[in-house]
Amino acid sequence: MTGPEQPSLRLRLAILIVVVACLFGALFARLWFLQVINAPKAQAVAADNGVRLIYVQAPRGRILDRNGNVLVGNVNEPVIEVDRQQATQAPDMVARLAPLLGMTDKQLRQAINNLQYSPYAPVPVMPDATPQQILYIQENQDLFPGVRATSMSVRTYSPMGKAAANIVGYVGQINSAELAKLKGQGYQAGDQIGLAGIEATYEKYLRGSPGVERVQVDSSGRVLDTLGTTQPSPGHDLKLTIDGNLQVVAQQALAQGLAAARHTFDTVTRRDFQAPAGSAVVEDPNTGQILALATDPTYDPEQFVGGISDANYKNLLNNPSDPLLDRSIQGQYAPGSTFKLVTGTAGLKYGLITPYSIFDDTGRLQIGTFPAHNDNFEAYGPIDLAQAITVSSDLYFNSVGLKLWYGRNQYGDEALQNVAREYGFGSPSGLALPNEAPGKVPTPASYLKDHQQHPNIFTESQWYPGNSDQLAIGQDELLVTPLQLANAYATFANGGTRYVPQLVQDAQTAAGQVTTAFAPKPVTNIGLQPEWRSALLAGFEGVVNNPKGTAYNVFAGTPLAGVGIAGKTGTAQVNAPRQATSVFTSFAPVSHPQYVVDAFMEDSGYGSAVAAPVVREIYDALFHFPPQPVSYTSGGSGGQN
């Protein structure tokens, strides 16, 4: 190469500049693609890249009783919070804070790094801090950068609220399954959510909407700027149909009744009654509103505040008396003679009996080869429908059940069962609480199906006349919940309209302004003829007010004898070794019923013995009489079932 004019060199230099041009061309083309064609897509990604949302939970709505008494409220609990970002930059602070809180460095660091909390919000490391700890931090704030002694809103329960634990339920931290399901509604890990009772079913109203803070963060998560803040809007208060005072009375009456039964000797099983549990329901028959829904044993919802300890939760779960079970809606019992309402209605409806037809109760009824009899082998002689209810003649209703079965070609296989369903048995009532039990109304079809599915448990596949005979007096495989029974009697008491039992009247703001009102919900009218109703009514009235009535002894001589209470006892037989379930259901005043009250007492004997006195104490409160403590009313003469 002698000079730049050499053709080969010029060619090679030309190649070089062409390569240069190509390379720049490639860069320009790529820039065009990214910044013109790809820009809209990338801008969306970039906008999302630097913004994080911090959710601030809204104060939860309170739960009030029908008179405005607070059942569940909120209280600000002192809490110590640590800013995660500052904690990582100040190891000295962690070393100082740990001994103050009685933790090791490691424990505190674990608490700070608890992933359940948003990395952009302060982490509560010490709920329920002592005033001394709070004061020390506030006075020496310069030693604790990023530490805040503040307060956290937690649930608090009044004595009425504790008596209503089964109704109000409790809140707890949202779990990952729920979180995945509810992410779209703005739930965050660490959020509180209703887990049981009204807290769960009315979560939507109680929760309010969380505040959202939009912050700009850099790639290492440092918060640089707040872009916007939406204030949390507090949850709504719920006003229940429950009367808090009455709930307390019902709860106490149950506890007294169970205690009394446990000290009473059962002549049938030759030991004291076990009386492990009981429940009571008070309903307004004209609206379906529930005034009290008591179950015993129960639990203290305070245990769930701030997260229940594993030990406490295990205790609740493994307790043989199952305090978490709300027996008023989840307990399923044979109703015994209280079911005669249904059998009587069915007999009248299908024309097997009239209000005036007389049945000669001889004390014996042959069903095939099986001789049926009344309790204590009583023979009540010639009786009409009302008398049959008052004295609780089994044979009267056995015969109705048999006639329905023998006439099944005319009335259908499930004539009695259909009336039971109209009264609401066999399916959940629709009360707004989780996990309500459906009960069971056995039929020939259910016998066959159960046997096919579980031949070892349900050994019998066939329905016999004896099944109809037993169903007619509330036995066989019939199961009802205390709430279903109360609602059935409420349907009868109001003249035939069955309502969905109601627990919540309205949702309102903290200032008391109603935002949502919940109206009574009628489900069906069962077509109760007035003359049927008055005949049955006379029978129920006699139970309490006629000296031959099975619950006469319980109310006679008390102020309540004058209010006009109608009722029905039930003594439901349960497979040995269990003892009879004591059942009593009632309504008052007879002329224009305002209240339906029932009680179910497990392993406690006759309906008149414990359940009726429990109901009596509830009526004392309803009619403002001085309470008559529950005492065990030992079996009087004559049938008491």
């Binding site: 730049p4 820039l31 990214l34 013109v36």
Partner: protein, 393 residues
């Protein structure tokens, strides 16, 4: 020189500049383009660093001031190099080359380790990166050797050239700094192309490169991360899963994905200086150095990026012009070497930010923060200026 020292006859005397004749051929366009790029770089270094510095409680202009000082020193170096006759370097080529190799060996022994590579000498708060200067040293050495071959490189000469380049290549590659080593390779290829390697040799060389490349990928000469870097741009999905990538922060895919988003986010007019959500919030890593182009792309958009590319094009074009105008083949080859050095760095660096080139840690000339690179680039441009100034002498 003598010619222009003589007073011009007649009226034209007044138009004669007072400067010595060679300065009449001082390439003002090239210098202006370089200064503009440097100033551009200072602004972008400031934009990329001020928020982080502020957050750390340091003066937000810390890096800006240092980079500006490098620029001023660099300009002085450039003018000083331009003032020296480039042919002197040919005479000193062996010395210069030897000195560069010595430095590379020394840094291997006593150098300062940073970010996993032993590539720096530490002087107080300043670091010196000999590999940057080795690029200039190799350009001079190759140009001197090839110029002596008078346009016809024999097979033996070719072997010598390969060894000359291979020694610093291996030393730098071992630091490890694959990027800078590849710059040397680019310089070698360009000098061979212009310096008269036969087509056959060039073809053989190309074949050799392919064989080595395949061998390297297959036999694990490269470290896993190097291999990942080199191939990630091929495998990069259109819609990177950023959430996944962030869990292995620092992963190459993350850098490239964030960088592409940042550049795209700029659109045509950009998000505005200091307003890049990606770059100003440090989603893009290493942005004052290797990924500085993303700051330009996001904050100034296609408009700013295009201006920057045109400035680089101007620098390369003027360098190419100097190569064409050079009085001798040594001058031509020096210019071609500098051209290759700058061109490769621009294309590799910007191409990486745009996701069309593999990730290799190469500074963007005159833009990326770093004194050694700035000084070396200005020195290279000083050589180009010197060649052009002395095209008639």
């Amino acid at each position: 020189m003598l010619k222009s020292d003589l007073p011009a006859p007649g009226a034209s005397a007044r138009r004669q500049p007072r400067m010595p004749g060679i300065w009449r051929h001082f390439d003002v366009v090239l210098v202006l383009a370089a200064v503009l790029i440097g100033a551009f770089g200072c602004v972008m270094v400031y934009s990329a660093t001020r928020d982080q510095l502020q957050a750390a409680g340091v003066s937000p202009t810390y890096f800006l001031k240092k980079q500006a000082i490098f620029m001023v020193i660099g300009l002085v170096v450039m003018v000083a190099v331009a003032a020296i006759d480039y042919r002197r370097w040919r005479d000193w080529a062996v010395l210069i080359y030897g000195f560069c190799i010595l430095m590379l060996v020394a840094v291997y022994v006593v150098g300062h380790k940073s970010k996993g590579a032993q590539a720096w000498f530490q002087f107080g708060s300043y670091q010196m990166e000999p590999s940057e200067f080795a690029k200039i040293g190799l350009i001079i050495a190759l140009a001197a050797y090839c110029a002596a071959a008078r346009g016809r490189l024999s097979g033996k000469s070719l072997a010598v050239v390969l060894v000359l380049s291979g020694v610093p290549f291996v030393l730098i590659y071992k630091q490890p700094d694959l990027g800078s080593a590849l710059v040397l390779a680019a310089v070698l290829v360009a000098v061979l192309l212009i310096g008269g390697a036969s087509g056959r040799h060039l073809g053989l060389l190309g074949l050799l490169v392919v064989v080595i490349a395949v061998a390297v990928v297959h036999f694990g000469v490269l470290k896993a991360y190097q291999q990942a870097r080199l191939t990630s741009f091929i495998n990069a999905p259109d819609q990177p899963n950023l959430a996944l990538l962030r869990t292995q922060a620092g992963a190459t895919e993350y850098n490239v994905a964030e960088s592409k988003i940042a550049v795209s986010n700029g659109g045509i007019t950009g998000q505005g200086l200091f307003k890049g959500t990606q770059t100003n919030l440090s989603y893009v890593p290493e942005q004052r150095t290797d990924f500085i182009f993303t700051a330009v792309g996001e904050q100034l958009g296609l408009a700013g990026s295009a201006v920057l590319l045109l400035l680089f094009l101007l620098v390369v074009w003027r360098t190419w012009g100097a190569a064409r105008l050079a009085r001798d083949s040594f001058g031509t080859l020096v210019c071609v070497g500098v051209l290759a050095m700058i061109m490769f760095q621009v294309f590799e660096n910007i191409g990486m930010a745009l996701g069309i080139m593999p990730v290799a840690g190469i500074p963007l000339p005159l833009m990326s923060y770093g004194g050694s690179a700035v000084l070396a680039t200005f020195a290279g441009l000083g050589l180009v200026l010197s060649v052009r100034m002395r095209r008639f002498t």
